[in-house]
Every structure is written in C-alpha cells, then in structure tokens.
Amino acid sequence: MNSTFKTYFHVDMDAFFVSVEELFDPSLKGKAVVVGGQRDERGVVSAASYEARKFGVHSAMPLRTAAKLCPHAIFVDGHMDRYQECSKKVYAVLNRFTPKVEMASIDEAYLDMTGTERLFGPPLKAAHALHEAMKSETQLNCSIGIATSRVVAKITSDQAKPNGVLWVIPGSESGFLAPLDVRKMPGIGKVTEQRLHELGIRKIGDLAKLDDAFLQQHFGAWGAAMAAKARGEDAGGWFDAEVGEDEGPKSISHEHTFSEDTRNEADLEATLLRLSEMVGRRLREHALFARTVQLKLRYTDFSTITRAHTPDSPTQLDTEIYSEIRKLFRANWTRGRTIRLLGVTTTNFEAQEDASGQMNLLSTGTTSNQHQRWTQATAMADKLRDKFGDSSVVLGTSLKRKLRERVHENPADRKKPEQ
C-alpha cells in the first residue's frame, strides 16, 4: 500500500497581490492594504493584506464596504501585469521541482510530487527546499500543504498559512479533516454550508460519517463527490483530472462593471468591442476557436440576462466575436435602461477553425476574403501586443473605453459552482 501513495503539494502564495505591491513599495509592509482600486470607487476588492483581513475585509467585497470596515487601510490600484510577471516566476520555481505543475489560478498551484523522493528527499524536506527557493528567487512567501490527495493538500495549505509547511501523514487524513468546519472544504460555499447546517452537519467529520446515499439524495451527484472529499479523496469537477493533465479552459470571458451606470449606446458598444478584443486575444493565446458567443447584461436594478448564439463556424477573431455580441446586444437591450455590467463569454471550443471538414463553395467570396484579411491583421496586431503590451493595438471604436483589467486573487469561495 505505502508505495502506491500519491504525494501532492498545494502551493499557495500568501496575500499574493499585496505582497507583490509591497515589493514595489516597501512602505506598505505590515500595514492594512487593500488592492483593487481607491476607497470611493465602484469596484471590488481584489486582495487584502492580513492586517486588513483582521477587520473583515476580503476579496470580492465592494471597495466602499472595505473602506467602512477598515477606514485606515491604504487603497492601491491593482497591477495585473506585475502579478502575471511574478506568477511566471513562481511557476518557474515550481517547475524545477516537478514537471507536473497545475496552476489553479494566478497564485496557487498543485504539484504532483509522487516519485521525487530520490531527487528531493522525503516530502517535508522537498517542501522546505521549495519554500526556501521561492523566498530567495521571488521574495514572496508561500504556504505549502502536503497530502495524498489534492483536496486534502489544498485544505492543508490553508491550515499552514501564513508562510508555513504542513504535511498530513498518509493514513491520518480523516483524523485531520474531522474537526474542520465543512466550509473549509473546496467547493462548499455559503449556500451548501447553510444546507448542511440545516441537516445538522457542521464539521467535515460529520460529513464523513454519513453514507453516500444520504448525501446523494440531498445533493445529487455532487453529494457523492462531497462524501468522497470528506474521506480525503479527490472527486468532483476538476479534482477528477490528473495534475498537469491540461484540459484547457472550458470558457473564456471578460466582464466590465461601469463606474457609473450608462445608457450611452456608443459607450456600451465600445465596451463590448473592448471585451470582445480581450476575449479574442485569450482565445488566440490558447489556440482555440469558440463556437458559442454569449452576452451578459446587467441593468442598474441588478436584473441580469445572458443570451448566446452559436454561429455556423467557430471563431477566434475579435471582429467576428464582436459582430455576434453586438447583434445579441441590439436585440436584447431595452433601449434607455441603464446598464451596470456587460460581459462577453465564449464557450464550446474547438482546436481548429473548420473542425467539421466541410469545404466552402464560395471560398473566393467576399465574406471569407474579409475573414482571411482579419485573420492576418489580427495575427500582426498580436505580435505588436506581445512586444509593446496589450493596449498598443486596439480596434478604433474600443478606444472610447479603456478598461482596467481586474482579476481576483484566489477567489476560491466564488470560483467553483456549488452544485
């Protein structure tokens, strides 16, 4: 049995965005810092320092709420480029310890360390070396959880925080998990937690005691996965896949919340174009073609609609995504109603443009001619963006709306669907 253990590390950077900001401005160290925007702005918190978290500030909370909870906090705009740069360095360190690295988000990764004992010694020793290497090469702190499954490794790294290493010895998983609140388990959010509480289940140990059938009856297939996780097994959603087994994204999307709600059509369409460009760029980075394009539209009163369309042929071109999105927008926006948020999502990916193999009758026609020219133009623009930054080349209309990119630091409790 003992040689068949898997050894997983979950490496989680401590207060990643804040720590990166501290590298650029050491005076922030040890202070309550909120990253994401200024205190009177409309957006949400991307990350908060441990000092700010003591006051109840957490990511995805409106900035203005954070300002109320922690009035003395220093508010800093986010710098995605810096975080991505540091994330790359983090990855480089991790990649030296095992080729099986899966970045779960910009600041956390799963490592399959199975079979690396001869290279790095027993798990704790390897983790210590990794921890040291991370600090010396990136000046950033991380916490490492070690376990025989990714679920337990993730929970463990959380327990190890900040700046710690924790190993759950094989065989002791259930004992380790039992006293923890169910909320600690990845995938259990506010809603599931409440439903579990209603059933009298508060600790992961309570969950593990139940039989699968009971959970399945109350929570469907997700219930069975939850039971397996409570026993310390990887199950459900992406925990089913192996580390480093790159499944590629299932959807690519960008959203924008207006700093002031608007009904200005030119502004709205410019925003949609900018979002389409951002989505298109990422599609091309992943070498994917999207079959389905979806518009998300949230009015001032928070009523939200999503509308999708699947054109004949998959695309990765900004102009083609935008033309679909604009059509959806024009057909579904109630003119005159002010809009709070717009989003562009692409799903249903294919690796090739004409995966079907259907040949074209009118390949010399104007439509495909235009398509060809846009493909070439976009490829050139991408090269320029690689060299001079993402905003160096944009489509004319979208100039009206320059968006600041916002990414949330490890929004673990929001990321995975609950059921």
């Binding site: 083609e320 259907q358 040949m359 009758l361 009118l362 010399t364 026609g365 439509t367």
Partner: protein, 392 residues
Amino acid sequence: MATTTSIGTDSSTAAAQGTAMEITVNKADLLRELTATQGVVERKTTIPILSNFLFEAADGKLSITATDLDLSLRTSCAAKVKKEGSCTIPARKFYDYVKLLPEGEVSIKLMENHWVQIRSGRSNTKMVGMARANFPALPAFPDSLSMQLPAQVLRTLIGKTIFAISSEESRYTLNGALMVLKAESITMVATDGHRLAHIENSKARFTGISGEMKTLVPKKAMAELNSLLQNSDVESIEFAKDDSTLFFRIGPRVLTSRQLTGQFPNYEAVLPRDNNKSVALRCEELASAIQRVAQFADERSGAIRLKLDKNELRLSSSSTDSGESEDSIEVVYDSDPMVIGFNSQYLLEFLKVANDGGVRLELKDSQSAGQLRPDDAGDEYKYRYIVMPMRI
C-alpha cells in the same frame, strides 16, 4: 398654463379617436386573417408597439396590419363599420381570445385611453392597446411599377431553394435568395456557402422587363410568402419594389419586406462544368440509404462517405459514439472508382424537396463540388443542387 393646454389637446384627440372606431365583423373572417399574420407579429420584441396589431376601419372593411419592421403584412376582412377609425391591440392576446369565441359576430369598439372593447354573444372583454400614432408607418404599394408573377411557379421556386439559405446572420447577403427575372424566365438561387440550390423556369413570360431584374428576397419573406401562397388560391401575385422595400400582393393581402442590400455572390462561377462521373439514382432509395447511414455519422458534422465503384454506390459512416454503418445501391457505373464525403443533412434536405423519381449525381473528384439534378418529367423547370464535399 401651457402644460394643461397640451394635456387637454392630447386627451381631446384621444377622445376623438377614442369614440371613433366601432365595427362588427364575422368571427371566422376575422380569425382567418389574424391567423395569416401570425408569422409576422414579433413575439420577442424590445419595441412594445410591434406586438400590437393596427386596426383601421373604413369603407366596409377592417384592415389589419402587423409588422416586425423587417416584414409587414396588411390584410383585411369585411366589416360593418359603424364609426370609422383606428386603434392598436395586443396581437397575441387578441388572437388567442378570438380563437376561443363562438362563431358569430364580434364587435370591436375603441374606448378612452386606448382601451378596446370586444363583445361577442354573452362575452365582454376590454383590452388596452397603445396610441395609434406609435405604430410605424408602412410604405404604400407602388401600383404603377408592379408586375405579375405566377403563384404556382413562385411556390415551386421558393420550396426548392429556401432550405439552402444561410441562417447565419453574419453572412448578410446569403440570408435571402436571389430572384432573377428575365422576359422569358424566372430563376431563384440560394446558398449558405456550402451548398447551392438553383432552379429556373423558362415557361413563364414576363412583360415589361428588358435584360434582367435581380432581387434579393430575405428568407423570412420567402417563408411568409410560401405560407400565404399555400393558403390562397390566387393564380398570380403582384410584385413591385422600390429602393428599400419589396411588395407582394396576394389577393387581398399585402406583404412588404425590407430589401437585403449587398452583393449576392457570383454563383455562376461555382456551377460545376466538368463533373464527368455520373450515376442515375432513385431519390427515395438514395434518401433512405443516407438516412440509415447518417444515424452513425459524427453527430456534429453529419459526415458520410460515398464510394463509387463498378456498378455500385457504397455509403458508409462511423462515429466513436455510436458505431459504424454501411449501405449500398446498385448503379450503372463504369468510370474510375472514387470516394467523396458529404454532410448527410445537406443531401437529405435536397432529396426531401426533389420530386420523387430519378436523380443524377454528378461528381468530379473528392475535392470538387458535387451536383444533383432530378430528371424532370417536363421541361418546365431546370433544378440543380450543388454541394461541396467534406474532407474525410
């Protein structure tokens, strides 16, 4: 005070209109015309007035208009007009209600504030419409420039091409069929970029045309025209167009459609000329073989494989999900063997509308367009269908 005055003016206009319209119509007559408009009334619209009918009563008839801005239908039925006038009324609700009324007379009366009273026998209902002024103005039929199109021919042309029109909205000029009128022929062509349906009638005669007259007819207008023709026994319809609009008069009904602008692709360039491998097949036999084999084709692409060999056409498919399947048809064939892939759906859609009987499949090689031509009994129509192959 200015405000008060203007309100006063408004309500007096409303009152003038409000007491104006009062009519009685036969339920069956009314329902028949309402049914005819169902394809045009916009169901999901962001412009509320478009889910309303416009009613106009004058000269012993009730005119009913529905529009979605792209397409409009104006029809009428006989009515006893007590007071001439007009109003609008929520289309779907009104239609559903009239369907439920007993046979007999229905009286419709416009009240104040756009309320409309509908009475029939012992039933009494009030619905609220919108101001008539909000209803979009529709272009009038330009009588002077109209020409006659034979109804039966038009129906045939639409039926044999409409399925090949692209439903892909971004390919704007492919969202309709091209109608080419010459003095001695009428042709209709539709394509979605993968296949093309082409039909010509050279028996019909048209006066007042020099050279040729090309018109792009939107798919929605074709479908509407088709269903109007199906429910009518007129021998010919009146057709006219101006810069932006197409007009079709079918008996008492007038269908207007916004024109598609833009250049229809140069389809003549893609009509195959040297497809020298040819087999004669029976439509039904080919269709059922394709249907069987297609059950086991890749679900998304619907790809099937056609293999021409000595005196045999072999159809096959395979998919990782469902298995594989093969069918073969005995044919007379003596040229080089060849294999070609097609989207089974494209072939079936054509075979469904081709007349029962013989069809000729003409191929060149696995990279070039195939052509299907029904052997027509008469020489009234020339019908051909061109399909690009799939890489297999």
